[in-house]
């Protein structure tokens, strides 16, 4: 018997590579010799189903595994056309394939990359992998086909593919959410942030058009829009009256609303497609619609709307994702609102402070100048020599007024802090104190403070200003010292006076100004301390991280 042994192998990837015969035993035509039907008994040893088939497609032999897999007995299989094992749709044309194989036979797996099906006796089909090996049979060329049940393998593969897709999706979601969070941290401008949220959402969910609606000036406005010129053109537009019932429904119900097709049916959805011409133009080509509320701390602050050209596109998972993204947008909108509010309050406070400063300094100075000038005018007629004193007073006041006016104008144009520097600005303040109130002011300012960030310099300047203002107003001091330096990674400011002082644990004059100073410093991560004892002066110390 030329066939010394049979080998049966699998590659590392579990792909069946086929039946072989010891090449040393090969004879003649170059194909393994299987001419002796007795040698086929060896095929019973093989763990897979094996068929020996003639070139004409007749089954010559089927091992036990083949009988079990296909449900036919050995007798039934023997002599049966191999086409009888194929699903009816594939039976035609198989003969041609088989002939093709026989014309250029080679050892190979069959139908690579395709899901091959075998027909069982009971009419059911089973997924199989098939490997082919040309052989020589007693009456000419033939083929040994090995079949393996691939049902489990397919199931495992499908599960793996799903897991993989799922994982990829999760990674994409996390990445997008992370990108949103980063955009959040890196930009303060609300429009930019909302645009970037919509762009990230496009990667996550995929939409034809998207819009973010939020409150502005008491109404609901389209804050950001994406997807086509008509859609982008909606930005800044108030939400049209007709669309409101639908959008309000989403906001009030505080959960996602999915519509398969906005053009089908009646109800609030018609508000998107009929009514406002700009909106319906933007909705042209859109079918599926998804609306989710923007919830910030359980309060609905707006709405995210997505549409898609494919009807019924949005799934429950899309809705869940959109809700997650919407919460980012909600926080951004809420943040921006709070920021704006704080800004407006700051502007108002600033205005009141300037009004107070103008009243306290410039208007009083001008009043004094008026009185002095009138006095001098009267004395010119009566006793011209006596007019010198009031005129000197007028001149002194005019000088002081000028210095104060400069300081105030300086405040109105904060960029001048950049131009004059912090040191110059504080010197100016001190000069006004000296010229108008006759205080002595000792300054100790290190030049390195000019290298501090602008925001820090402004705060240091304002604290100095407020402290000097309080001294002037309440302390009845003679001497003031201001020192500003940098040590241990902190800017240290100290303003000290020899005035009447106060009890720091009680309400004291100027406590409002001091409170705002403290807030200002705390905003930059610093600390402000006030030490005072009645009759022993006051010391204000501010420390800010550089």
């Amino acid at each position: 018997m030329p066939c010394a042994w049979v080998w049966w192998g699998r590659a590392k990837d579990e792909q069946l590579v086929g039946l072989g015969v010891n090449p040393l035993a090969e004879v003649g035509s170059g194909h393994p010799d299987a001419a002796d039907p007795q040698s086929w008994a060896l095929l019973e040893l093989v763990p897979d189903a094996v068929l020996v088939v003639s070139a004409q497609g007749n089954i010559r032999y089927a091992n036990l595994q083949a009988q079990q897999l296909l449900g036919w007995s050995a007798d039934e299989l023997t002599g049966m056309a191999v086409e009888g094992l194929l699903p009816s749709a594939l039976q035609q044309g198989h003969a041609a394939l088989r002939d093709g194989f026989m014309r250029g036979p080679s050892t190979r797996p069959m139908g690579q990359g395709r899901d091959l099906q075998a027909l069982r006796r009971d009419g059911s089909t089973v997924s199989v992998e098939i490997s082919l090996q040309p052989v020589r049979l007693p009456d000419g060329p033939g083929v040994v086909a090995a079949l393996r049940d691939a049902t489990d393998r397919h199931r495992v593969e499908a599960a793996l593919r799903r897991a993989q897709l799922d994982l990829e999706q999760r990674v994409a979601e996390r990445t997008a959410l992370l990108d949103i969070a980063q955009a959040f941290a890196s930009t303060l401008s609300l429009p930019q942030l909302l645009d970037s949220i919509l762009d990230q959402l496009a990667k996550l969910i995929g939409y034809t058009g998207a819009a973010l609606c939020g409150p502005r000036d008491g109404g609901m406005v389209i804050l950001s829009a994406r997807g086509g010129a008509a859609m982008a053109g909606l930005r800044g537009m108030p939400v049209p009256e007709t669309a409101r019932p639908l959008l309000e429904m989403v906001v009030q119900q505080r959960r996602a609303l999915r519509l398969a097709d906005v053009w089908v049916g009646e109800g609030p959805a018609t508000g998107l497609t009929r009514g406002d011409p700009r909106l319906s133009a933007a909705m042209r080509g859109a079918h599926a619609w998804l609306g989710v509320p923007l919830l910030a701390q359980d309060r609905a602050v707006g709405l995210l709307c997505l549409d898609h050209s494919q009807p019924g596109y949005f799934t429950e998972q899309h809705a869940a994702l959109a809700l997650a993204v919407a919460s980012h947008a909600a926080i951004a909108i809420e943040n921006a609102r709070l920021y704006e509010e704080a800004g407006e309050r700051a502007v108002l406070e600033e205005r009141q402070r300037l009004a107070r400063e103008l009243h306290d300094s410039v208007s009083q100075t001008l009043y004094g100048i008026g009185l002095g000038a009138r006095t001098a005018r009267t004395l010119l007629d009566r006793d011209p020599a006596a007019a010198a004193q009031p005129l000197d007073y007028v001149l002194a006041l005019a000088g002081a007024g000028l210095a104060e006016m400069k300081a105030l104008l300086f405040e109105l144009r904060p960029e001048s802090l950049e131009a004059e520097g912090l040191e110059g600005a504080i010197r100016k303040q001190a000069a006004a104190l000296v010229s108008r109130h006759g205080l002595t002011v000792a300054l100790d300012l290190v030049p390195a403070v000019e290298d501090l960030p602008t925001g820090l310099k402004h705060t240091l300047y304002r604290v100095t200003q407020e402290a000097l203002h309080n001294i002037l107003k309440h302390a009845q001091a003679q001497h003031v010292s201001v020192s500003l330096g940098i040590a241990g990674g902190r800017a240290r400011l100290r303003i000290k006076d020899d005035g009447v002082g106060f009890q720091t644990d009680k309400d004291f004059p100027g406590h409002l100004g001091l409170r705002s100073m403290r807030e200002r410093v705390a905003q930059l991560g610093g600390r402000l301390e006030i030490q005072s004892v009645p009759g022993k002066g006051t010391e204000v110390r501010a420390e800010l991280p550089v």
Partner: protein, 211 residues
């Protein structure tokens, strides 16, 4: 000689006023105060005829100081001085017991005249101000009955006459006029002649245009 106390937290204003008022031989600045509390002390100490009181001051504001001064020293008249013409500030000043008010941009001559009028017990309200204030300043609901003489004095006060003019009109001494005036204020529970004049207008003792 009219003795004046200046109460203003701005040293430049006190200095300017002192200089200017010194030009008038009838006026004498006897003291200065930088806040309401100091003003109270100085009034008790110096007993000035007239106080020029800034309303916005630290420690104790002008309104509080006016109330205390009018309660403790009814002979000292107070003129409220404000920087801006605000209805509320003027109404509050008259309610607190100021005989009149001045804006800081008032002509300097007018300032001297106002001080002299206040010292003479003369109520000065423009018809517009009177019309506004008459609704705002109230006497208690059931004031004590005034004597016929007091009613006559009240009517003349409301017409803006000075103590001397009232004395001449009624042929009594100026001192008696002052006694009647304090009696009227205490019976009506009012803090100033200006409040009394507004009360008289409300009662119809005088027409508002006479005030």
């Amino acid at each position: 000689m009219i003795r004046i106390l200046l109460a203003d937290d701005h040293a430049v204003v006190r200095q300017g006023l002192r200089m200017f008022l010194a030009l008038d031989p009838e006026l004498e600045v006897v003291g200065e105060a930088a806040n309401g509390a100091q003003a109270l002390e100085q009034v008790a100490l110096l007993r000035p005829d007239v106080v020029l009181m800034d309303l916005k001051m630290p420690v104790m504001d002008g309104l509080t100081a006016i109330r205390h001064i009018r309660a403790a020293h009814p002979d000292t008249e107070v003129i409220a001085v404000t920087s801006v013409l605000e209805d509320t500030a003027i109404i509050d000043a008259v309610r607190a017991g100021a005989i009149g008010y001045l804006l800081k941009d008032t002509e300097a001559q007018e300032l001297c005249r106002a001080i002299k009028a206040a010292a003479a017990g003369q109520v000065q309200l423009s018809p517009q101000a009177a019309a506004r204030l008459v609704r705002e300043v109230h006497a208690p609901d059931s004031p004590e009955q005034l004597s016929p003489r007091e009613l006559e004095v009240l009517r003349l006060i409301a017409r803006g006459l000075s103590n001397r003019e009232i004395a001449q009109e009624l042929v009594i001494s100026e001192k008696t006029v002052k006694t009647h005036a304090s009696s009227i204020l205490s019976k009506l529970g009012l803090a100033s002649r200006t409040q009394a004049a507004l009360h008289a207008m409300r009662l119809g003792l005088v027409g508002q245009s006479e005030g």
